[in-house]
Symmetry: D2
Amino acid sequence: SDTTREAAAEEAEVGQGWLHAMGARILEAGPSQVVVEMSVDGRHLQPMGIVHGGVYCGLVETVCSVGAYQSASLKGMLVVGVDNSTSFLKAVREGVLTTTGTPITQGRKTELWRAEVRNAAGRLVASGQVRLLCLNPGDPLAGKGASGPGHKDHPDAS
Amino acid sequence: SDTTREAAAEEAEVGQGWLHAMGARILEAGPSQVVVEMSVDGRHLQPMGIVHGGVYCGLVETVCSVGAYQSASLKGMLVVGVDNSTSFLKAVREGVLTTTGTPITQGRKTELWRAEVRNAAGRLVASGQVRLLCLNPGDPLAGKGASGPGHKDHPDAS
Amino acid sequence: SDTTREAAAEEAEVGQGWLHAMGARILEAGPSQVVVEMSVDGRHLQPMGIVHGGVYCGLVETVCSVGAYQSASLKGMLVVGVDNSTSFLKAVREGVLTTTGTPITQGRKTELWRAEVRNAAGRLVASGQVRLLCLNPGDPLAGKGASGPGHKDHPDAS
Amino acid sequence: SDTTREAAAEEAEVGQGWLHAMGARILEAGPSQVVVEMSVDGRHLQPMGIVHGGVYCGLVETVCSVGAYQSASLKGMLVVGVDNSTSFLKAVREGVLTTTGTPITQGRKTELWRAEVRNAAGRLVASGQVRLLCLNPGDPLAGKGASGPGHKDHPDAS
């Protein structure tokens, strides 16, 4: 229902969305670099006791989307991710993961961002990239006009 | 600490891991098809009010890993995902998502699985693939010998 | 120089471009399916005597681009590929490869196409996908206005 | 036939394979960096007069495979590429392209290499990565035991 949808969107805006569900914290969010931190706990694991691949993908998606959102907003545009490709390099059981996103290209139609996930020792444990499409405000998006988090001065577009 | 790690792994095994964090339910888990269902709620959204890309990646990762785990276990092996590539085809604000994974190749060294995510109307909203590496039990994995969920007859390797 | 560029483009238009360099032949080219055939010979191999991965990528790129070009032209648009992701499933030493491309999504801003490469026995030997960006004629493209192969009624946009 | 196959493999070994078909030259080939150069000409273009995406994929595949081959041979192993993912960042009509490959991970079971393609002005025009599987000599590969280019001291495994 529309009420459910509005409530769900509201929840996301006040930080109850996927960023919160992952337990991630945005440390830095600019148009040329984004840094997110997350402490591994039981929720992040798969049954072999290592961090689930979907967690790395989610971290990569987050830093790339937040960065492209910052970058696109300088042009008065919004972004939406279209392709995420993430590689898992070293299995992790615990500790703090730091994910850093940087732009590869920032065009008028798309942006491409790359992310690296490092463990507490600074070792690369996952890397990935996200292709994002630039939208104009009001472009159709899932049955509504595309809009950002709006009046809440909120850094995370993802 | 080791105690924390053991507890975290235990939690994952009893269903408190990423599958639970996503709110996903395994409907079918075999070596040639896996189906997972998830109802979108506020936790899954990003600030524009649509499902976060990391959620689709996590669903794709789950069905592919669970399937490859089932398939590899027929050969006495385990699997670990190495690359996830997921495309977002249609933005979603609410409803039930059904994700189905099927094998593309099932080799002695790697498996490649493909997944499709459909909304309640049956429309394809995301698709992706995961490359998984086959391991022998006891192969090194994040400082321990690789092992599955063990004595708990548990279908989810991811 | 401009003269060299014009000559190079002209060459591509009359069939001396990459399609010809690969030794591929377009069997079918429509907005919902494209089929290309190629006989493996010495030029396609890498030093281990199997088909070079770049050949499969090139086949995938070709069928997806030709198809999206056909599809976009129905909307008066052009396309340009932005991301190609190809998986190699079975090594091949010889024989005819048949590559079939079909659309996953055909939007106003991007298209996503998927391709399968099969050997003479019909076995899947490679698969992949290409994300393509839709352009309006005259949009900037490498220092010129984007344009298709023009007056030559030519099916291959890639 | 076997005679055709032997001849085809022989051709590849003496430099008539895909590297030659692309018109690429290996400038450097070591286990931690590979550099390949290629001058764009008419054969590399698609009908819009820009370099065909398959050419970038082929360059990425080549530097990553040659590098992983060098790296694996230090362990007495061979490699075979399994997934290539290449992004096209800026359309090119002419000039020299320089492609550099560097390792992301070099494991016992797989290697992951990354490549960047730059134009004559040093601008990044494409980037990509290749996942490669490590094989022991004699492991089955397309109906024969895997073997490298053998007695010919030849740097290119791809």
